[in-house]
Homo-oligomer: 204 residues x 2
């Protein structure tokens, strides 16, 4: 798959996927780019353009077959392959993710959580165990997770990020509110405070 | 304040604010747009352009006074005014936010949480009480919160969003993973699964 698609297009793909998934669950069999556009608050031509980056999957006068489009999007996103993840830092946000978040729905199998707090070490959330942070290196060497989820305090963010990348992790889902930059390692930042400040601006 | 600034600029303001805050905490007194750009992975001219939308605050040859820029950004974002918020749905994510999230740092005072589960009603997190969902309407009428934070299951997202807007809320911070649209009501979506799927694409 060519990787020269613009970031803006890539950022829209999960949204398409989510909506197409909802349509499939609702028993919808096919949808026109116009109806899909209405649902998403986009234009039909933008949707066609976006999907054409990957070869298009619609048919003139028919629209998109929902199940087919869902599978194609899953393949493009790579979420049909079940990559693996570890979560580092089982505090409140880490716990909330372990208990509630549908990792498999986003293409990942969560292998383990790590923390140094004896109160959580050994506990299990949704069948996933919290291990001692000191076992992390050995675990990573053995299990080679694709990504690490960082739900640790911000003052250790940079150090732990370097550690996990040195251990072979190829991507980071970053909840630390620190803008991490590591060469050749894709990082997705979840900056909750940025989101709330943007809302603050907009409700003024 | 004119509200015709592009969304892209507005989305960058919280990042500027965060970095400037860090600089201030680190004891930095002034910074050039070039150094700020390096820290942020942007260009100096982009930063100058962005800040010029609001009148600029730098001085040729001097750069930016850190404390001054921080205060200006806080004012632009409106986080110096302490708006008010209620959180609806005190499950794991709701609890994680109540326990950990620095609302005041993003311009909001959290007034209360609401849930219908007797196990959490009456509990307090960081001094904020969880009230019975049935008291919500009366509470909203009396306290007039500026925004509602929706950390409820997705199948009730649309109904509750309508309820809170009918009760006078002027903005929504949406964690439900449903793309809500309500006319004239700014909504900030936190789509964690979109973020993880984007990472999934990028680590392929």
């Amino acid at each position: 798959m060519e990787k020269t698609i613009s970031t803006a297009v890539i950022k829209r793909l999960p949204r398409y996927y989510r909506h197409i998934q909802d349509l499939e669950k609702a028993g919808v069999f096919r949808i026109s780019s116009k109806d899909l556009a209405n649902k998403l608050g986009l234009t039909a031509s933008q949707i066609r353009q976006d999907l054409n980056c990957f070869g298009g999957f619609g048919q003139q006068g028919y629209g998109y077959n929902v199940t087919n489009l869902k599978e194609q999007l899953a393949e493009i996103l790579g979420i049909d392959k079940s990559k693996t993840a570890v979560l580092i830092g089982v505090g409140n946000i880490g716990k909330a993710l372990m208990k509630n978040f549908d990792f498999e729905g986003s293409g990942f199998k969560l292998l383990a959580g790590f923390d140094t707090n004896p109160d959580v070490i050994g506990r299990e959330f949704e069948g996933v165990r919290v291990l001692d942070g000191h076992e992390m290196k050995a675990f990573m060497q053995k299990n080679k997770p694709d990504i690490a989820i960082l739900t640790i305090p911000r003052h250790i963010a940079a150090v732990v990020a370097k550690d996990v990348v040195d251990s072979g992790v190829r991507g980071i889902w970053n909840f630390t509110n620190v803008d991490l930059h590591i060469e050749n390692v894709p990082i997705e930042h979840v900056h909750l405070s940025d989101s709330l400040m943007t809302l603050c601006y907009n409700v003024e």
